[in-house]
Amino acid sequence: MSAIPYAPAPESVRPRLRTSYDLFIDGAFVAPRDGSRHVTINPATHEPITEVSHAGVADVQAAVDAASGAFPAWSALPGAERGKHLFRLARILQERARELAVAETLDGGKPIRESRDIDLPLVAAHLFYHAGWADKLAYAFAGRNPRPLGVCGAVIPWNFPLLMAAWKVAPALACGNTVVLKPAETTPLTALLLAEIAQEADLPRGVLNVITGGPETGAALVRNPGLAKVAFTGSTAVGKAIATELAGTGRRLTLELGGKAANIVFADAPLDQAIEGIVNGIYFNQGHVCCAGSRLLVEESIADVVLAKLARRVRTLRVGDPLDKNTDVGAINSPAQLARIRALVASGVEEGATLHQSDCVLPDRGNWFAPTWFTDVAPAHRIAREEVFGPVLAVMTFRTPDEAVELANNTRYGLSAGVWTDKGAKALRIARRLRAGVVWANTFNQLDPTSPFGGMRESGFGREGGMAGLREYVEL
C-alpha cells in the first residue's frame, strides 16, 4: 500500500534570521577573533540558510573568561532570582515557539510536526521545571550542602539541537553555574536564537555564552582548564575521547552517548499499539535518536504477523518536505550522516540480512533515506551491533523471555529499551533485568523534564532531568 495522497500543508511562519551570525560572548554578539565564517544549509534542499561563525581557540577562551567573570555574581544571586530569570526565558521560548520550531526544521531537517509538537514544548518544559528548582536545591539534597560547580561547557548534538541545549543550560543555570554552549556544526541556528532570547530576557551577561563551530571548537572548549564541568551529548567515540582528555583533571563530566536499544515484543503484546511503538521507536526524527529502538526483538510465534503489519505501516509514512505539516519522516541531517547510513545498510546486505524499504518517493534534492528494516539479522551483524543513527531497523526473533533479555543486553550500549506485553508482572520483571537507563513498557521515546534520562555502560554516565539531573550540576 502506498501513501495516501494529501495536498501539501506547508508551515507558513518564517523565523527572523540575520544574514550572518557572530559569536555570543559576554552578552553581546561579537565577530570571531580567530575563527571563520561558514554557511549553514538546509539538509532538505541543500539551499543556504544563513552564515554563522566558527569559534577559534581565542574565541573559546573569551567565552570561558566571560562565563568565569559572570560566575561569582550569578552564583551569589538568591535562588529565587535565578529562578525568575529561567522562568522568563521559558516564557519567551513559548512565545516564539513556532518560529524556533521552523528554524529547527530548516536547519536540521526534522519534520515540523515533531519540532513543533515535541522539541519546543519540551524545551519550555525543561526551563520551567528547572526554574522552580533554583530556590529549592536544599530540599533536593536534604542533609547535604549543594554548591554550584563553576563554568560548565556544554557540547551538544544535531538531532535535538535546542532541546539538548535546554537539557544542559537549564539545570546548570538553576544550580548557579554559568555556561559556554557549543551547538553542533550542522545545527547552530536555534542556539543562536536562544542567545538572542537571553539578551531579550536580560539574562546577566556572561551567564550563557554560545560559540558555534565544528569539532575543533568543541575540542578546544572541552580541554579548556577554565571549565569546572563538561556535559556532552553525542557519539560514544567522541565521548571516550573527551573522557580520556579529562582524565586526571578532576573536572566533572557527564556523557550521554550512543545507543542500540532493543524493543522487545512478546506474543501477548497489544500488537497494533506495539506496531506504532516500533515505528515511533525507529523512524521518529529519521532515527537520529540516541535512544532509538533500533533492534526489534519479536517473539518467534508472532514474527510473521508483526512483520506484515510493520511493512504495511511503514509504507504509509510520509517522507519528504520537513516543513509540510503532514510529513512523518524528514531529511537526513547531513551528507556525512547519509553516507554513514548507506555504508551500514550496505554492510547489512553484504553480511546476509534481508533488506526491506518503504517504496516512498524521495525528493530529488537534499539528503534522503527511505525507512528501512532488515530481517534475517544475526546478532553479530554490524546493523545489529553498531548505532546507525538513521531510519534503519534490525529485526531479530526470540523464543523465551530469557533469550529476549540475553539478546537485548548483548550490546556495549545501555541507554534505553522497550518491552511490549499485556502482563504487568512480565513487563516489570523484564524491565528490571534490562541493562538500560530508560525502559519504556508499552510505549517508546517518552521524555519529560521530571524523569531522569541517561545511559548505562557505553551509553555514558550521569542523568538529565529530575533530581538526579540536578545532582550533576552541584558539589555536595
Partner: protein
Amino acid sequence: MRLEVRKTYKLLIGGAAVRSESGRVVPVNGPTGTHLANVPLGSRKDARDAVRAARGALPGWSGRTAYNRGQVLYRIAEVLEARSLELAGVIAHSTGTSIADATVEVAQAVESAVHYAGWTDKLHAVLGGVNPVAAPFFSFSTPEPVGVVALLAADLPSLVGLVDPLCAALAGGNTVLALVSAAHPLAGLDLGEVLTTSDVPAGVVNLIAGDHAEVAPHVASHGDVDALIDASNDALATELERRCATNITRYRRPGAPCSLEAVERTLELKTAWHPVGS
C-alpha cells in the same frame, strides 16, 4: 614453650581461599623489619578470575531484597566487632600504629558496616521516586547497582580504607573485586575470613593482594568491570582513569566514609515508564 601456628595468607576468589595462580608470594615485614608473613602476589589472571566470580555472583546478590542485604552487612559488623582484638593486633603489627589507634580503626570499620547496612532499603526513597510526567504515564526511577565494582584500597588505613567503600558498594547491590592495601595487605586479607563467616555469598567480594601498578591498569581496562573506585595512590590515577575511558567504565574517587556519596558512586538510575490510560 609452645610453638605458635602461623597462618598461610590467601586471596579470596569466588568464595574460596586460594593462592595466586602465579604461585608468587612476597614477604610482608613489620615496621621494624620483622618478617610477619608471606602473602600471595596476585596476578592479572587472578584479577580476571575475580571479575568472573564477581560477575557470576551479581544476579544473586543484586536480586536479594534490600532488607536481606542490610542483614548481611550488619552481620559483617557483628563479626568484625567480635574479631576486633585480632584485627587491631594485625593492623598494629603490620603498620606500626599503636594498638589504641588500631582499635579505633577497627571500630570505625564496624561503624561503616553498620552505616551501610542501614542504607540498603533507603536508597530508593532518597535517590529515586515517581516522576510526575506531563503525560498519562507512570514513570519511576530506581537506583540499581552499576554491576561489578573494582576497588583499589589505599595503603593506609589498611582496614577501614577497604571496609568503608566495600560496604558502600555492597549496600548498593554490587559485587566487588578489591585490591587490598598494597603496602599493608594483612588486615585486608584477614577481612576475607570475616566476610566468609558473615553470610556474604561466594563471589560477592573477592580480595586480591598484589602490586597495584601491575594489576590495576589491567582491571581498569577490563571490559567486564563496570566501575573503578580508586582509593589507591595518586601516581596511577590518571592512567587508570584514561584506561577506564576506553570502555566508559565509571572511574570514581571514593566518597567520604559513612556517606551516601560513597554508595552513589556505585549506582545507576533506571527510569521506567508505563501508560496509565488517559
